[in-house]
Structures are given as C-alpha cells and as structure tokens.
Amino acid sequence: MAGVSPLVRLLPVMLIVFVLTLAATGIGSSFMPPERVVAALAGQGSRMDEVIVWTLRLPRVALAILAGAALALAGALLQRVVRNPMASPSVLGITDGAAVGVVLFLWLFSDQANNLTVSIHWQPLAAIAGAAVFGTLVIALASLDRGGSKPLKIILYGIALAALAKAAVTLLIILGPVYRASQALTWLTGSVGAAHWQDVLAVGLALAAVMPVLLLQRLTIRQLVLDPQSAAVTGLSLDRAQVCLLAVAVFLTAIATAHVGAIGFVGLVAPHVARIFHGQFRSGYLVSVALTGSFLVLAADTLARIIAPPLELPAGALTALVGAPLFLYLLVKGRQSHA
C-alpha cells in the first residue's frame, strides 16, 4: 500500500460520506428513495420533493458535514500542539467557554416575559466571544507561567478553566429561570436539527478561511510530532507555530460550537481513526481527519432521526454511539502503537 497515492487512500472515505449524504437526505419523517433524492438535487424532482430536500434536509446534512470537519480538524491540531493524544476541544475549555457565552447571552438579553430583547442571530457571536475569551485566557495563563513544559501547562490551565466554565454554566442555569435553562440545555447537547443555509455558509466560510493557513503550515504540523528538541533542530520555531495552530483550533471550535452546540467526541476520536485508517505521516492526513469528522456527525444525526421516531434525539448524544464501536474495532484490529 506504500506506493498508493493519497487520493486513492481517501477515495473509500469520500465514497462513504457521499453515499451517507444521499441516504441522510432521503431519510426523515417522509422517506424518499435515492432516485427521487437525486432527481430533486438535479432540479428534476417534484415540487414537494425539491422543497423538502433543499430547505429542510440539505442544510442539515451540509451543516453536519462541515461542523464535523471543523471539530475534527480542531482536535487534530490540538493533539499535535499540546502533544497529548487525549487533547480535544472540550478538554481545553474552548467548548465550555462557548457555552458560557451562550448562557450569559440568554441571561442578559431576556426580559421579564422570557422573550429575547435582541435577535437570536446574535447567539453565535456570543458563543464565539466566549470561546475566544477562554481560549485566549488558557494561552495567556500558560505563557505567563514560565518554566515547566508548555504543552503540559496549556493542558492543566485548559482543564482548570473548562471546569470553571462548566461550574459557571451550571450555576447560571440554576439561578436563571427554567425557560432559559431548557433552552440552554438543548443547545449544550449539540444538535444540527435547526440548520439554515446561513449556518452552513458561516461554517463553510470559516473552513475556507483556515484552509490557506493549514496548507502553509502542513510541514509544521508534521514536525510537531517530534519531541521539542528534534523539532527545533529541523528548523521549527516552536512557540510561533504552536500559538498559530492553537489559534486556528480555537477559531474552528468556536465557529462549529456556535452553530451546532457542544457536540463532543468527534474532535478526540476522528484524528485517531484517521491515523489508523490513513497514516498520520502521509500527505492528505488532515483531509482524512476532516472526512472522518464529517462522517461521524452525519451518521450520528441520521441515527438520531431514526432511532426513536417521532422523537428526534440531539446528534451530540449519539456521536459516541457511532464513533466508539468504529474506533474500538480499529484499535483492536490495528494493533499499532498509539503513543
């Protein structure tokens, strides 16, 4: 397999995501066979089918794909920067920071009758602000603290601030009115159920914006696997590269969390699945990570719609149900080293 080009290696995953996209567009409260889905996509279907596909199903599917990719990429970058295979957006306080932003937003801008006094479209902005504040705080605390190993500091401060943010969210939910609590809880589990094309556009633009950075830094990302000394010897300016990639990870997590809520597990596991499946030193590794993330969230959301109809479960509750068996299977079958 060594000589096979990365494109060929990526092909199966791409195919799976594509088939799943067609299936997910067809599945729902009214089932649509694939040929009608394709016809509607091509603009040849019945009017009813086209409305269902283009305004209800497709934004949801697209958002799942993009958000999954963003979260998975953020996880892969964090694991490299922090040099810990257990690092993920939720471990480092970024997701919980976004949650604080949203709960505070709901708390501050509601009037006595529990109506929002400003448009709900500001909610993503609040999430991004919260994530950015907590992300910056983690980085700042870690760099103010001289001595010790930097990645370890980032992790410890990340965990500490994540716990603090969780505590703040819990207390805000308890002290606030019940109506806002249930609203916040729905958002915290993470769901793509209420997707609009605006959400898709926002997450898509964010991914497009970080693409050039990732392309420029692709060698750096590979060098970061080495221990600090060796990485420095290969000509890597560690601090600058780490801060830059950390910022990208914070940005991606913030955008994704703002639009789909706190979907967990994807950021942690997608990089590992891609590593076993694709190989972390081959070119195209990050593409493979992104595709795996897309697959996980899309599959979880599809499952969420069919597991207990007419009830729709939040996708965030099911990412582990889809991802864990897959990852455990690969882990047992792979018998590789995972250090």
Binding site: G147, G148, S149, A160, A163, A167, L171, F265, G334
Partner: protein, 329 residues
Amino acid sequence: MRRTAIALFLALCAAAIFSLHAGLTFYSPHTVFAALMGGEGADALIVTTLRLPRTAIGVVCGASLGLSGLLMQSVTRNPLAEPGLLGVNAGGALFVTFGVTVFGVASLAGIGIAAVLGALAATALVFSISASTGGAGNPATTLLAGFTVAALLASFTQTLLLIDETALETLLFWLSGSFSDRPIGLLQLGLPLLVVGAIGSFFLATPLDVLRLDDASARSVGVNVGVVRLAALGLAALLAAGAVAMAGPVLFLGLVAPHLARRLTDGVLPSTRQLIVLSLLMGALIAVLADILARIIVAPGEAPMSAVLALVGVPMLIHLLHRRKGLAA
C-alpha cells in the same frame, strides 16, 4: 514533607469538624458536642443523621478518588488521566439507569450495588480491549479505550434517559453526584475498598517509582511492568467504584487532587509513597470543603457538587501552578 502531611491532616480535621456545624442553621460547638455524645432533639438528629454521614462519606469518597487519580496518572504517565477514564462513572451510571428503568430499583442500597457492578464491568471491558490491542504495555491505548468506552456507555445512558423522562427525574439526584442524603450504611461498601486500595498502593509504591522511567529502563531493573500496571489500574478501579457507589459520579476531584499533592511537596521529585499520603489527604480535604460550600452557596438549596468542586479546586490549582515554577508534573 512530614510537616506538609501533618498540616493537611490538621486542615482536614478542622474542615470535618466545621462541616458538622455549618449548614442551613449554624450550631454552636456545645450543641454539636452534646449531639455526638448521644443528645436528643431535632438539632441532635440533624447533626447525627444528616451532617455526620455526609461528612464521613465526603472524607472516604474524596480520599478514594484522590488516590485513584494518582494511580491512574502515574501508571499511564499522562497528566490528563482520571478515574472516570476507566469507564467507572459511565459504567456505574448505565447500570443504575438500567436498574431503575427496567428493573424498577428504588432503594439507595440497590443503586449503590448496581453502581459498583457497573463500574467494575466497564473497567473489565476497558482492560480486555486494551489487552487485545497489545496489552497493558501501552498506557495511551488504555486511556483511549477507556475514554471511548466511557463515551459509548454515556451515550447509551443519555439515550435511555431522553426516551424515559420519568427515570430522569428519579435519577437526577444520583447522576449529579453529591454527598448529601446518602445512608451511612454505604460506608460498609466504600471504607473496605479504600483500605484495600491504600494498603495495596503502598505495596506498589516502589515499583511505581521505577515506572516513572520509560518501560525499558523499568524492566532492566527487574520490575514486571505489565503486572505492576495492571495491579495499579485494578486498585484505581476499585477505589473509584467505591466512590461512585457512595456519591454517584463525582468529576474533577480525582484529576485535581494528585496535581495539588504533587505541587505541595518540597522535594524536586517526591516519592510515590509521599504522594499517596498527600493525595489521600488532599482528596478528602477538597471533598469536605466543597461539601460545606455546596450547602451555603445557594442556600436554602443545594448547589451541584461538580460546580462547587470546580469553584474550590480551580483557584487552588491555578495558585499552586503559579507558586511552584520550573517543575513539570
């Protein structure tokens, strides 16, 4: 180090005694003493049947989780390791949820037993998966397998609870983890596990010291790496299982207590034996302090344990991180 341990012990005693006095109504030392000596009346009842059990359970739980976290972190050489990563909390929660929704378990003792069984079953699953991937030799695999199994089980629990809302209401008090309103009889389950865990880890202290080197070096001085690792993880699982049976899933404590203990030592590289003592005391101290705060912070209600633990633990962690510079954990 001896001075630190004694200071911690005194602080723990003071906190435990204060815990008997504090709450919705504060009692005078005289009332508390009379109650403990077998006094009667409403005040005595509150002290002996509510505050004494929750303080005792807090101490045992905190010590168990602190030690469990220390074992996990030293065996896997990963500062992110914590008892929950062995699947203990998730397994306990799933079995308890299953017991309540399917078999109609209602008593706290039943819930406690279901929790221990679930915790041990989940740990066994994690171990067998990591063993079939090449074994205890690779701690990173154990952690990843543990995290994945925990996430999977938590996902089952969440789905069960989303579908069955009445079960969610009965279980919410247990699932949020707390030391209050637990029957003191649960100590019969937790205390022996803590004693076994503490004695066992003292026996493992020397090989664990050696295990801080890389595996090859540890092997070359005659330590059976696989056996030591499995034994220590087993002890960690037993300790955490006892804690989850008594208090429900209590997060963060097992992660933070060992880090705090490590930073309290004066030596550049504290021995595992010292760390065991300090982690036990530190865990118990944080648990009792958090429990006191939980009663006061949103009185007359009870604040959730997880939130209060973070409020107590995080400032301590950040303070100590800044105080001792130049020492990596």
